[in-house]
Every structure is written in C-alpha cells, then in structure tokens.
C-alpha cells in the first residue's frame, strides 16, 4: 500500500476517552462481520457437503460416474470441465490481454488510450447472463452453421463418415484422440463455445492488472534501452515485459480465479452433460454449471450434498487461487498496485 508512514502524534491520555473506545469497538464489530461471513460460509458448505464426503470420501474426486438415479456421485467430469475451460480460455486470453495492455500503456496516444482503457474495463462490467445470452443467440448459431458446412455430404463425404464412426464411439462413452476435434452435430453449444465466452469474460482482469504494472516500469528502463538504439519492440520485450512479468502473472492468476467460478454464461452454453471430454465441440459441464443446473432440482440428500461439495471445492479452490495471486502481486510489486 502506498500509504505514508503513519506517525501518531502522542495525545494526552485524557482525550482518548471512553467514546473513542466505544467507537473503535463498534467499527471492529461491524468489520468482524466480514470474517463471520467467511467462517459461516465455510461451516455451512462443510456441514452440507458432509453426507456426500462421508459416503464417498476422496473417491468423490476420483470417481467418473455422476448418476443421480443410481445415487453414485463422482466429480471427475466437472473438475475436468472446469480445468479445461479455464486453462484453455486463460491460454488464449493472456496474450490478447497483455497485448491490449501494451497498446494502452505504450503505443496509443493519450486521447486514444483512455477510451480504449474504458472499453476494456466495461468488458468486465457486462453481466454473466448477458454474455450467455449473446453467446446463445449470436455465436452458437454461427458455430452450428459452420458444423453444417463442415459435414456437408456433397463436398466432404469422408468427414461425414468419420462423424458416424465417432458418434458410435461416443454413444458407448468412448473417447479417442481422433474424434476429439470432430464437431458434434449439435446446435453449436458445448465446450468450445464455453471456452470462447470465458476467454472474453476474463480478458479485462488480466488486461487491467497488466496495464497497471506496465505503467509502473520506471521510465529509466525504457530510456536506457532506447539510448542503446533499441526498437520499440525490443524495449517492450527486453525491458518492459521482464520487469512487469511478476505483476502480470498475478493478474493472470486472478483471471484464473474468475474463470474457475464463472457460472451462468458457461451454464447456458456448455450443454450440461456429465460425459468426460468426448469432443472439443461436444457437451460438457463445469462445477459451477452443475451447481446452477442441478441444485434447484436435487431432491435427495446425497444428490444435494454432492452438489454442495462441488461448491465447497470451488470455495477452497478460489480461496487458494486468490491467495496466491495476492501474494505474488504484493510481494513482487513493492509499491503495491492492485
């Protein structure tokens, strides 16, 4: 934090009265609600996930079947779905986000940098459901259309043949590498669409942290490089990015935290299927999407408890991820920007 060192001037003891202590107590009491909410959340989630955890133990995280009818619950499919969507979206969005941050901080003249910065921040203000609506009504039909042309029997009979083969394999719940990138003939919903929309949604988080740390790079660094005859790109790649690397990493991990817990946009477009990674374009699910889609209908204790266990897992995961991100940002940018 960039606070000046607080020097408390010593006061006569008489003035630090009972009213001061009362006020401090009141403020502390209200502020403690924050801690209370955290503890209550953990307690609540822990208590409700206990039936599932005590029944399945750690098997909950290694078992593949999620079948409410038979009463067996394993979270491998959702955990895989969450990790794959988040990590792939992160991999696509980080270069874009850093590039846009470089544009705003290094390339754009001031009259352009501010509006572009605004727009990127507004991207973070668009609600999840609105992203979901847009993805469903605009991108999904495009993907669906593309899949139709991809499987046009007139022009590509061999692709149709491959699809028929893969569809048979998928029906037996088998996965092969050959079939992984064969589109499902669905309406465009699925893993790929979820990744696309997640990519857009987490962009602004990395971008704004990256922009802030890039602006913190001392001007001397740049000038020294230019004085040696470096081009702009050489200054960026050898003086600015290495210097800002740690801060950017913190921003990336913050974005990862967002991606892991992102719910409705993903729940709307991912197709809600508990099969494990049949196809890149096929239906899947994430932990958050399963909570959104199933918690309301879960009548049986075990089903309900299993869904809450997914919530507990997300809770623990996001606490860990945020903790690491803050640690990195706090440690490696001494002047503190967050």
């Amino acid at each position: 934090m960039s606070e000046p060192t607080q020097t408390r001037s010593p006061r006569p003891a008489a003035l630090s009265s009972a009213s001061d202590r009362l006020f401090q107590g009141l403020i502390l009491l209200l502020a403690s609600v924050i801690v209370l909410v955290f503890v209550l959340s953990l307690y609540q989630l822990g208590r409700e996930s206990w039936p599932a955890l005590s029944r399945f133990g750690l098997g909950f995280f290694t078992e593949r079947t999620w079948n409410p009818v038979e009463g067996t619950f394993g979270a491998v499919a959702m955990i895989t779905g969450t990790l794959v969507t988040s990590l792939v979206a992160l991999a696509i969005s980080v270069p874009l986000a850093v590039a846009s941050a470089l544009f705003v901080a290094e390339y754009a003249p001031k009259w352009l940098a501010n509006p572009v910065g605004y727009l990127i921040e507004l991207l973070a203000a668009v609600p999840s459901v609105v992203y979901g609506l847009w993805a469903l009504f605009v991108i999904a039909p495009m993907l669906g259309q593309w899949q139709l042309t991809f499987f046009n029997p007139q022009t590509h009979p061999e692709r149709v043949e491959l699809y028929t083969k893969c569809a048979a394999l998928w029906a037996e719940n088998k996965t092969t590498l050959q079939c992984f990138f064969v589109p499902n003939a669905g309406g465009g919903r699925g893993l790929a669409l979820a990744i696309i929309i997640l990519t857009v949604m987490i962009l602004p988080y990395t971008a704004s942290v990256a922009r802030d740390v890039i602006r913190l790079v001392p001007q001397d660094q740049r000038e020294a490089m230019y004085a040696l005859g470096a081009t702009k790109w050489e200054v960026i790649s050898r003086a600015i990015l290495p210097y800002a690397r740690a801060g950017i990493l913190g921003g990336v991990i913050l974005a990862l935290g967002r991606a892991l817990g992102e719910t409705l946009a993903v729940a709307m477009v991912i197709g809600d299927s508990q099969d494990i990674l049949k196809s890149f374009f096929g239906n899947a699910s994430t932990m958050a999407s399963v909570i959104a889609n199933q918690f309301g209908d879960a009548q049986e204790t075990l089903h309900r408890s299993s869904v809450v266990t997914l919530g507990l897992t997300l809770f623990v995961l996001s606490v860990a991820v945020n903790f690491v991100a803050r640690l990195i940002i706090a440690r490696l940018t001494p002047k503190g920007i967050q």
Binding site: S2, E3, P4, S9, S17, S19, D20, L22, F23, Q24, I27, A31, V33, I34, V37, F38, L40, S41, Q44, L45, L96, A97, A99, S100, L102, F103, E106, Y107, V116, Y118, L119, E121, L122, A125, V126, P127, S128, V129, V130, L133, W134, F137, V200, Y226, T231, W233, E234, G261, T263, L264, M268, A288, A292, F295, G296, G311, L314, F315, S318, V319
Partner: protein
C-alpha cells in the same frame, strides 16, 4: 512516450530484420487490441438492435411500409406488465425491475454498513492486531464465486425461512461487502494525515475526527465505490437462482420469492418461447445500459477527485 525511437539517423542504422520485427509486433498488438474490444461493441450493438425493438414492441421488419407500421404495436408494456403466461404474447418485466430495485436497496444496507466500517477499520486502525486478518479475509471473499455465495445464503436463510427476496439481498450484500471495503480503505488513505492531526489538535476525540472530518472528505470516493459495487452485483443472477428464486408476479414483500432482471434474462434466454426470448433481450438492454451508465458516472466522479 518514446520520442527517441523516431530519430531519423537511427532509423537508417536499423537492419531490415529488426525493423520488420518491430513493425510486425506493433501490428499484432494493434490487432489484438481490436480483438479485445470487438466483443463489447458487438454485444452492445446486438442488444441495441434487438433489445430496443423488443422493449417497445417495434416492428422493424415492416420498415418499408413507413414509420406508422414500425410503431403500430409500440407500447410501454415492458415497464408496466408482468410476463405473459408461457407461449402467449405480450407482457413485460415490471416484476423483475421492481424486484431488482428492492433487492439492491436491501443489499446496499448490508454492503454499505459493513463495507464502510471495514474500510474505516483498515484505514484508521492499521496497528490493530486484527487488521491483517480482516484485510486478508476481505480480499479472499472478493474472489469467492457468486454462485457459492448463493449456496451459502440458501443454507443460512432459505432452509429456515423459504425462498425470499431477503435471502437474495443478503447474498448480494455479501458480494458487495469486499468491494466497498477496498474502495473505502483506498479513499480514506488519500485523506492527508495532516487533516486528522489538525482535528486532533483542536482537541476532538478520534471518533469525531473520523466521522465529521475524514469521512466527509472521502465521501465522494466512497459513493463511487458503492456505485461500482452496485453495478457489479446488479447483474448477478447466479446467487439469486436458489435464494430469491424468481416470481412471475409483482411481489414487494421481502419474505416471499422475488424476481430480478438477471434472473428473467437467464430464464428467457434459455426458454424455447419467442416471447420469453424477446423479454430477455429487452431486459438485457435495460440492465447493461443501467450498469454502463452507473460505472461510467462512478468512474467520471472518481477521476475528477
């Protein structure tokens, strides 16, 4: 920023490979920035086109027949009526608009009270032994997924009292808290230490200095923070799914199920009925406009400070 790079003498000294690389990377960065900004513009244009017509029942398909045909069915039902029964035409989102306003108002009570107190605590009592804990927990809470907060509010309130607008408001309030804490702390730290010392030198107790001098000086920034927090949670549907639950009728009683704009957008967008999809698009336009206006106003206000 880099006037040095364009000196003509050095331009000539550059090898073509280095110059090419420099131009190429500059182009790629510009391209990437366009790619980043494009979705926002596309979403907004899409919602303007579809949502505007949906909101006022305009019929742009008959634009060739003249303005009269476009406006023939125009009305304000969207703001005054509740959704029509499934499969029927007409109706609006009055239930959701009122529900959103009421829940956000209730959420603000929790968010502002706890958030501002937390911010005061972190900024004004930095030596208190509990300060690092509260700062860390508040940071961590900011990263908890909204849907998990919904599960928590479900367990704490809905299990005992049933689905209610109050439960939804509590979930939203919990989500607001950490945002308000952070902004309050930051603006309080911007108030110069000398101002506090001046107050103390007059013999005022610390609590009066905090309430009457420091807080008013930071009020603008705190209001900005609250507005940003409101803009942030106004769009959340996930924590409302199983707390406020939704209600197709207007309900102002916080003890009963209540609708909200993001909830109706979610239901409508995933519905098979055209009419529900129409309401969802109009609702999305309304919501996104409110959120954009709020955050732009908040940012403008904070920039002027």
């Amino acid at each position: 920023m880099s006037a040095a790079s364009s000196s003509p003498a050095r331009r000539h000294a550059l090898s073509p490979a280095r110059r090419l690389q420099n131009t190429l990377m500059g182009g790629l960065i510009l391209l990437a920035t366009l790619l980043v900004v494009a979705p926002l513009i596309l979403i907004f244009l899409y919602l303007l086109r579809e949502g505007f017509a949906a909101m006022f029942n305009l019929d742009f398909a008959r634009a060739r027949e003249g303005l009269g045909a476009v406006f023939s069915g125009a009305n304000l039902d969207f703001f005054t009526k509740t959704p029509a029964p499934e499969g029927e035409k007409g109706g609006g989102l009055a239930n959701a608009i009122l529900g959103s306003i009421e829940m956000l108002a209730m959420a603000s009570v929790i968010g502002v009270l706890v958030g501002v107190a937390g911010g005061i605590f972190l900024a004004e009592y930095p030596r208190h032994p509990l300060m690092p804990t509260i700062r860390m927990v508040s940071d961590v809470l900011a990263g908890i997924p909204a849907i998990v907060m919904g599960l928590v509010a479900y367990g704490l309130i809905v299990l005992k009292f049933g689905f209610s607008g109050l439960a939804g408001a509590v979930a939203l309030g919990f989500l607001m808290m950490p945002i308000v804490v952070r902004t309050t702390e930051e603006v309080l730290k911007l108030v110069p230490q000398t101002v506090r010392e001046a107050g103390l030198a007059l013999g005022l107790p610390k609590w009066l200095v905090t309430l009457r001098i420091v807080l008013p000086a930071a009020a603008g920034g705190i209001i900005t923070g609250v507005m940003l927090a409101l803009a942030r949670v106004a769009g959340e549907a996930a924590p409302l799914l199983f707390t406020a639950f939704g209600n197709s009728a207007v309900n102002l009683d916080p003890r009963g199920p209540m609708s909200a704009l993001p909830l109706e957008i979610y239901r409508g967008a995933t519905s098979a009925y055209d009419e529900n999809q129409r309401l969802a698009k109009a609702g999305a336009l309304l919501l996104i406009t409110l959120i954009f206006v709020t955050s732009l106003l908040a940012r403008r206000a904070s920039r002027r400070k």
